[in-house]
């Protein structure tokens, strides 16, 4: 059975209520097509993680799909605080999610530890602050402080994270799942490799031979991958280097919509629940904002140079 499938199939088969998900992205390569499908399929009780979360995590929280969030940060960037996130924490709408809070050093290191089979890693941050005073669903397992057996120095250890599933969006992948990426990485490589299985969403499906022309660009090998979905424009309103720009206007639309519960519902009905798939989404985008706006997002031509691995 092949791994190439529709997003609908990929999410149906591999995302289950109660799972622990790593979702890659950093404005760059946000797997929005996958997230919309998760919400369309009404998945529930998810634990989610990534360093520096944004509109995508805010939307999942607002839609009620999330129970727990291993977090470092969540905001809408230039559009300020995450509205759904705030409503959840401050007012319990639609319900109050549980948070376990780390930093952009400790969380990537915990994912790296998960990826590399290390039970824990030492980190030098967090000491002296309230981040050590708050413990939530990870309890006493959030961190440990030891005296280094090498020199007696007090050292903070944080545990490895091993998500059930990672979902990432990359520029290209082959049908086996070898996933290739360039540009801003965030914690995508360590997060994907920490997970027990990976769904790869990609701008273009390429041949195994194309992958082999530049194997140093691969961040996840095929044997970890359970589904490959070709999903052009799949990171919108985030961006994908070499493919399309971030959509600031849409970001503003999301912020304004999510300012109220009703606005958020309307937004979700229009852009997620009432939409069949990424193709329908893209068509709706063009109908609503015009092909000119869509075209303007497409990346310019600024190609580099090929290299050779020959001998």
């Amino acid at each position: 059975m092949g791994k190439v499938m529709s997003m609908k199939e990929a999410i149906e088969r591999h995302v289950h209520n109660g799972q622990f998900l790593f979702i890659g992205g950093y404005i760059c390569r946000t797997p929005f097509a996958a997230i919309h499908e998760i919400l369309r399929q009404k998945k529930k009780d998810l634990t989610i993680t990534r360093s520096n979360a944004a509109d995508d995590f805010d939307m999942m929280i607002g839609a009620g799909a999330v129970s727990r969030f291993i977090s470092t940060f969540l905001s809408l960037g230039v559009y300020g605080l995450g509205r759904c996130y705030r409503r959840s924490i401050e007012k319990g709408i639609p319900h109050r999610i549980e948070l376990e809070e780390y930093t952009n050093l400790s969380l990537p290191m915990m994912l790296m530890a998960g990826a590399m089979g290390m039970p824990f890693v030492p980190v030098k941050d967090m000491v002296g602050t309230d981040l050590l005073n708050i413990k939530s669903f990870m309890g006493e397992g959030k961190y440990k402080i030891i005296e280094s057996p090498f020199d007696g120095t007090r050292t903070v250890l944080v545990p490895a994270l091993k998500p059930d599933l990672a979902i990432i969006h990359v520029q290209q992948a082959d049908k086996h799942g070898n996933a290739q990426m360039w540009g801003i990485g965030g914690d995508c490589k360590v997060g994907a490799n920490a997970a027990k299985k990976v769904i790869v969403s990609c701008e273009r499906l390429v041949s195994r031979e194309t992958v082999g022309k530049d194997p140093s660009r691969t961040i996840v090998p095929d044997f970890k991958v359970v589904a490959v979905v070709e999903e052009p424009f799949g990171a919108h309103p985030g961006y994908t280097p070499g493919f399309y720009d971030v959509d600031f206007a849409f970001g503003s639309l999301y912020q304004k919509s999510s300012d109220t519960v009703q606005g958020f519902e309307n937004f979700m009905n229009e852009w997620v629940y009432g939409i069949a798939d990424r193709t329908a989404y893209t068509q709706h985008y063009i109908e609503r904002f015009g092909y000119g706006a869509f075209k303007k997002l497409q990346a310019g031509f600024d190609y580099g140079y090929p290299v050779s691995y020959a001998y």
Partner: protein, 266 residues
């Protein structure tokens, strides 16, 4: 002597204050807005060899517009190195290579501790803020931390509601007690009214310079702790002609920096 044009806005002055704290050759971790502007002013004036990076994974970017986030698309083409958080926050910052870090906060206290987590009680917050992100590791590990804040009795505090990022924590000896690396910690708080330094003995922020248009008295009144005043306190040097030129002609021709005025930086 540099010329000092008078048609500058407060965010421009604040960016220049940041720029002047950067030395040539410094390795600087920048976010967006002020920090990026400040670091780039330094790079285009007195510190051409300053090395700038964003936590998202970018080193020595060459953006053609001001980046609106540390993951902005304009940071990709032309950068010297792009990888991920593990490289920038792990290999460069925790690895001990970062000289200067910029931080902003919804609350900053007299020891330079910063709150970006909650206003009010953690479990029942009045206002939930974004969280640490890269702030805690930058505040913990950069050699010189430059803090940006709005100057009023709400944003500045005797003690932050929640300490997301360490300044001098509880005062003298605290960073050492907690094992933070030697020779690290906040250097200044740059507000829309003044530049506050940190006393080497008490670790408390004190008034170093006040911006044109305000006074020692006004700044002391706007500060919620008993603000000490430097013996040589004086007016902040306004933006120099070449600094403004770099900002307006190269870094930010559309003057996107004006957005900070609407956020209270006046």
């Amino acid at each position: 002597m540099s010329a000092h044009p008078t048609d500058y806005i407060k965010p421009e002055l604040m960016a220049c204050c940041g720029a002047r704290e950067i030395s040539d050759g410094d390795v600087v971790i920048v976010g967006t807005g002020f920090p990026a502007m400040a670091a780039n002013i330094a790079k285009y004036t007195h510190a051409p060899n300053a090395a700038l990076m964003q936590e998202s994974g970018v080193y020595d970017a060459r953006p053609l517009r001001p980046a609106l986030s540390v993951g902005d698309p304009c940071l990709n083409p032309g950068a010297a190195m792009i990888a991920g958080l593990v490289e920038v926050i792990g290999m460069f910052l925790q690895g001990g290579w970062v000289d200067v870090g910029f931080l902003a906060g919804s609350q900053v206290d007299k020891y330079g501790n910063i709150n970006t987590t909650v206003i009010g009680d953690y479990k029942n917050p009045k206002s939930r803020l974004p969280g640490s992100g890269g702030a805690n590791p930058i505040g913990s590990l950069a050699k010189k931390v430059l803090i940006i804040a709005l100057h009023d009795r709400r944003r500045l505090a005797e003690r932050v509601d929640f300490m997301t990022t360490p300044g001098y924590i509880d005062g003298p000896g605290s960073r050492e007690k907690w094992g933070l690396p030697p020779q690290t910690g906040p250097k200044v708080i740059i507000t829309n009214k003044a530049v506050l330094g940190f006393d080497t003995l008490t670790k408390e922020a004190y008034l170093q310079t006040y911006h044109p248009g305000t006074s020692v008295d006004e700044v002391v009144k706007l500060t919620p702790w008993d603000l000490k005043v430097a013996d040589d306190v004086h007016e902040t040097e306004p933006p120099r002609e070449e600094e403004l030129k770099v900002m307006r002609e190269i870094l930010d021709p559309h003057r996107m920096i004006r957005i900070y005025e609407s956020r209270g930086y006046v």
